[in-house]
Structure formats: structure tokens, C-alpha cells
Symmetry: C2
């Protein structure tokens, strides 16, 4: 990793009427009390983190918040997608009620996507809603999951099946926290950066091809641009369609196949971003076979995903009927309607469409794209 | 019970912008397909009910919905406040996912307040929100809990601590279902009717004094008026303050003391309405001791509560420091702020205020009002 230069903090705004909020992107944000000065006042705050991130940053955040809240508690969750369950969520409620936290209490999600999703759902539900702040410490959370108000836990029969649309009051992306991110997690985050290219901004795809080595080396200026541009695109899409009535579904490019891999392999075996990586390859192939894009773009995207350190081939989920297993798992995707799977397809390059596809075509893509 | 005459269906509207919805109040509504004709179309519907109400009405509702949904499933929950837990809620998610229900699926809450609260929270959370319809079959649910979008489950440390504000798309109060209601449940529902008098409408208090015997005997015309007037008052208050930023809290008159009794005795020992009955007596005494109302109104309200078949004295929750135990339990009430308990007080008769009170005064009220 490079040493991180000080850079001006940049702000991207999410425009959702009275639920609007800023995303602050920069360095040295965590320890700076000014970062937190505009948050709602309350008697208490609860920092929610996990066993990996907590030891690195929880005390520093607590110190920075010290002047803002009379009482600050911390709850440390087990780390990993396998723990994105009701049982873990309940640890947050236990902490809130055990400390007598009232309904002005502010929750801080300090960690990656799992911590953010669970803290957000806890904030949405505790006393029917308390404020919360996203403090994402992984690239995946900074470029995607911390922004836009989707919160959830998993159910044994499907990912993110129980949750809420509930917006944070602020998102703070301190790029310094990415310095401690393991390379595999950095790659997983790059999957969600790459996805914005084919569905929304082909010039981002160009930029990623030119800067992939710098990103994987942790170059702070490259990361700052990737985070900012990703947040801008996500902010635009979410601003148009907060509750995924239409447009927002395009942000799930690669996720329909990816969620099937995650669920089929057991949560945590593949990282979310790894499922999305190979899922994007499959979605690109499906787009090509439907005549929406040419093979050159499929190859270009596949190469970029490989350069990001991500798998470009899907997992084999069933030795006898692999494509059938994919179809079975994808039918419980939230975008499915009356049993018809809805795929996010590139149509044309730089934008996306959500539509069904014949089972036989999907089967041929799965057969061609799995290990 | 009287035999139920056919009467014109009345409609009370809840005005909440795009979340507005009608409350239909009348007889012979359950079996009439026209009752359900304006609901959102979907491939599937799920009826959520309990072991008491299900055998009486689930098949009839399913038959009436038959032409509207291709597939209709039913999930039967154990009956009682003690089951208003995550484990029971999860039975609804298991059913939804087990049947492959998509995010247009419509949920029907067929039962009392517990079924309504849990079905509503399940609808708010399943795939981050699906439509739901309240079909309340108890007086308490028809006059209060089915209207206004408060949904929740209990936590061992407090009642309704985990939930959401989530509005149904319709409420159907079929007065015929009250004919099967046990007298104790009818009385519990009357507590929530009585509460609207002192906080919002003294003429309702007059009417209740004149009609209490008819209500307890199950007179359909009296019940129709009680349900309609209660829904009108609740609709007005919720329309002003959907998320309980201020005014809506007055609807918790009697509930601060009442929740303490429910939690302190163990959920289910006292019915919610029974806790509210004696809780209103305590809140009235507290209002009187703060100089807000005279003793004549306290006595008048106490007599009416007794005539409704409700307890007028609170439970002893702790043999050595009963008032201390009440205070301890009330400090985790959702209205509490920074440890200060907020009481709903009559101020003046026919309206209410939410404010704190000195611990010593609260202690003296608890000491004077418990068994």
C-alpha cells in the first residue's frame, strides 16, 4: 500500500427530499471530530462493528465522537456473511435495550457490507426507527452497500430477504481504512466498481482499464476517484428510484447469478464481490446471446474482471444438473415475478435493461461459464 | 350476542398522501368478493392467522379471495402476546419463501392485535416491503391496533421494541367477527375505545356511559358506532403525525403504566387492554395530582372502566418496592428520553399533553392505585 496523502474531502449528495444525506469521501476523516459535528444530537450512540474491524478502528471512532454523545457503547459482531442472521441482529437490540438506549440514539455502522446491512436494519426497526450513520471500511461498502438505504439480513432460503429501505443520515468513507483491507476483499470491492461501467458509464470502464493496477496496489488517488465516481452513479440511480420500482434494479447487474452462487455454496464460501464478478461475466454472455451486445464487450469485461483478481467462471453448484440448480436458486431472487427470473442485461453498452430470458438460453450460458 | 342486522358499510379514510387507505366498517364483509376487489393484483396471497381465529374464518376469507389470486396460502401462528416474538415472525418468512412468494405478494392479517402487528412487520420486511391488508377480528384491533401502521414484535426487555411504521393498503372491520369474541377480549377492546374520550372527545365519553351495557351485550349498532368513531379519531391523529413525532403519542394514554404491567407480569398474563384499563386510572390520578383535571373526572373514568369489565387497579409487580419496579419498567418505554419517562396526561379534559412528572409523585400514584 502507498502511504496516504492528505486530500481535500469530497462530498457526493443523495437527493431524496427530507431523507437526503451527504457522502463524505477523503482521508483522515475517522479521527476528526469535525466529520461528526453535523450529526443529530442524542444522549447515547452505539457503535456496531465486528471482530476484525473493531480492534482497528472502534476506539478511534469512539474518541472522535466523545464530545458529541454523553454515552457511547460498542457492540462487536462476529465477522462474515454467514452471520448476517436474525441471531446476530438481535445482539444489537440486546445492546440497545441493555443500555437503556432511547429512540434518539444514533447507531454507527463501522465495518463492511454485512455490518452496514445489519446496523441499518437494526436502526430501521429499533423502536420503529432511530438515526444511523454508515462508516464503511471496505471498498465494497464504500462504493456500493453503504449508499442508498438498502438494509437486510439473510434467510436460509435467500439472501437479503428480510430488511428495509432505510436511509442513513450520513455516509463517511475514510479512504485510510482501505489500507488494512486484505487483497481478496479489495478485489471483491472492485467488482462493484466495475459493474457501474457497462450499465451506466462506459468512460468509467475505460478509466478502470487504465487504472486497475493502481487500484489493486492501493493507490489512494485512484481509490478516491473510484469511490467518488461509484457513489455519484449510485446517488443518481437511487435518487431516481429509491425503492427499486424500476431503474434501481440495474444496480444488481451480475447479482442474479452471483446470489445463486453465494446461496448455493453456502454464505461466506464465496465473497459477495466474487459472486458478482463471475455473475457479471454470465450476465454479459446472456446479453450477447440475446443480441444486445457484441462478443468484444464480453471479452473486454471478462479481462477486466480477471485483472481485478476476481473469478470469471461460476461455481459448480450441482454435479448432475448445475444449470437447473442455478435456475432454482434464481427463481427466489427478489426481482423474480410469478416465477419468472428477471435479469439485468447490458442494453446497449453503458446502460441496462431488466427482462426475462428463455430457460434454455440461461442454461446454455451457465453451462458455458462454470468451472 | 344479538343477531347481526345487515347495515350499510361505512368507510373512514386515513389521509397519508400516497400511503392513504380506507377502513371499511360493516357486516357481511368477509365473504363478499366485492370487499377485496380493489386490492393490488398479485400471483399470490398469504393469509396470516392464529390457532383461535384460523379455524373460524380462514377458509371463508380464502374462498372470498379465490378469484383475485391464483395461489393463496395460509400460515397459522400460535395465539397470544407471549408469541409476539422473532421466532413466530420467522414462521411467516418461512411460509413466504417456502411457497416462492415474490415481492408483489399480498399479506392478510386475519386476527387480533398480535396477528396484525406481526403480519405488518413481516410485510414491511419481506423483500423490504410487500403490500398487506388488515382484517381485524377483535374489538381492540378494529378500534386501534389495525389502524395507523404501527407494527412490531416484543423483546424480552420491552414491548413493541422492534418494528416499523408501515401502512396497510386497506383495513376491513367485519363486525360479525366480534360475535365470536370472548367477553374478556371484548372488555379489553373497550379499553381502547374509552381512551379516545378523555384525550380527544368528551362527547364520546358521554356516549360510552349511555351505551356501555349495549356494547358489552354485543349490540351491533352500538359496536358499529364505537368502531367508527374510534377509527375517525385515530385517523385524524395519525394523519397529523404518522411517525409519532408529537401528537400521535397521546394515543398511548394509559399505555405507559399498562406496558409496565404487561412486561412485569410476563406477556399474556394480563391482556393488553386490561393493562391499559388500570393504566388509564393511574394516568388520570397523575393528571389530577398535577392539577390538570379534577377528582370528579378521575372517578367518572374509573367507574366507566369498571363497567367495561376492566381492572381499575394495577398489578403488584414487586412485593418490596412496587413503585420502583414500575419506574424501572417505564424508563424503557419508547416515549422515554434520556431516562425521563414521558406520561400522556389529560390536559384539559378532551385533550392530552405528553410530559414528565416527578418520581415521587409517580410513586405516590402507583402506591395508591395498585392492588
Amino acid at each position: 500500500m502507498h502511504s496516504t496523502p492528505t486530500m481535500a474531502t469530497q462530498t457526493v449528495s443523495i437527493s431524496l427530499g427530507e431523507r437526503s444525506y451527504p457522502i463524505a469521501i477523503g482521508t483522515q476523516l475517522l479521527d476528526n471530530p469535525a466529520t461528526w459535528a453535523d450529526l443529530p444530537r442524542a444522549a447515547a450512540a452505539l457503535i456496531v462493528t465486528n471482530t476484525t474491524v473493531g480492534p482497528l478502528y472502534a476506539q478511534r471512532l469512539q474518541t472522535a465522537l466523545h464530545s458529541h454523545y454523553a454515552s457511547i457503547h460498542t457492540v462487536v459482531l462476529p465477522d462474515g456473511e454467514a452471520y448476517k442472521t436474525w441471531e446476530t441482529l438481535n445482539l444489537i437490540f440486546d445492546a440497545l435495550l441493555g443500555h437503556g438506549c432511547d429512540r434518539k440514539t444514533v447507531l454507527f455502522a463501522l465495518g463492511g457490507g454485512v455490518v452496514g446491512d445489519m446496523t441499518g436494519f437494526a436502526a430501521a426497526s429499533y423502536m420503529r426507527g432511530v438515526p444511523f450513520v454508515q462508516v464503511p471500511t471496505t471498498l465494497l461498502a464504500q462504493v456500493d452497500s453503504s449508499v442508498g438505504g438498502k438494509t437486510a439480513i439473510n434467510h436460509p432460503l435467500g439472501k437479503n430477504m428480510v430488511g428495509a429501505f432505510y436511509q442513513p443520515c450520513k455516509v463517511v468513507c475514510d479512504l485510510d481504512t482501505l489500507a488494512t483491507l486484505p487483497p481478496r476483499e479489495l478485489s471483491a470491492g472492485l467488482a462493484e466498481v466495475i459493474k457501474y461501467g457497462p450499465i451506466a458509464d462506459m468512460s468509467l470502464l475505460d478509466w478502470l482499464e487504465a487504472n486497475m493496477d493502481a487500484l489493486r496496489a492501493g493507490d489512494p488517488l485512484a481509490l478516491a476517484h473510484a469511490v467518488k465516481r461509484s457513489c455519484e452513479i449510485k446517488a443518481y440511480v437511487v435518487g431516481q428510484d429509491e425503492r427499486e420500482a424500476g431503474l434501481r434494479a440495474i444496480l444488481n447487474f451480475g447479482h442474479t447469478f452471483g446470489h445463486a452462487i453465494e446461496a448455493g455454496m453456502g454464505y461466506g464460501a464465496w465473497l459477495h464481490g466474487e459472486g458478482v464478478g463471475s455473475g457479471m461475466v454470465m450476465a454479459a454472455h446472456l446479453s450477447q446471446r440475446l443480441g444486445l451486445i457484441d462478443m468484444a464487450l464480453v471479452d473486454r469485461l471478462t479481462r477486466l474482471i480477471a485483472r481485478a483478481g476476481l473469478p470469471t467462471r461460476g461455481a459448480v453448484l450441482d454435479a448432475t444438473d448445475n444449470a437447473g440448480r442455478y435456475l432454482q436458486l434464481m427463481r427466489v431472487d427478489k426481482k423474480a415475478e410469478a416465477g419468472e427470473i428477471k435479469f439485468v442485461l447490458i442494453d446497449p453498452p453503458g446502460s441496462a435493461a431488466v427482462r426475462g430470458a428463455p430457460d434454455a438460453l440461461v442454461r446454455s450460458v451457465v453451462d458455458a461459464c462454470c468451472l
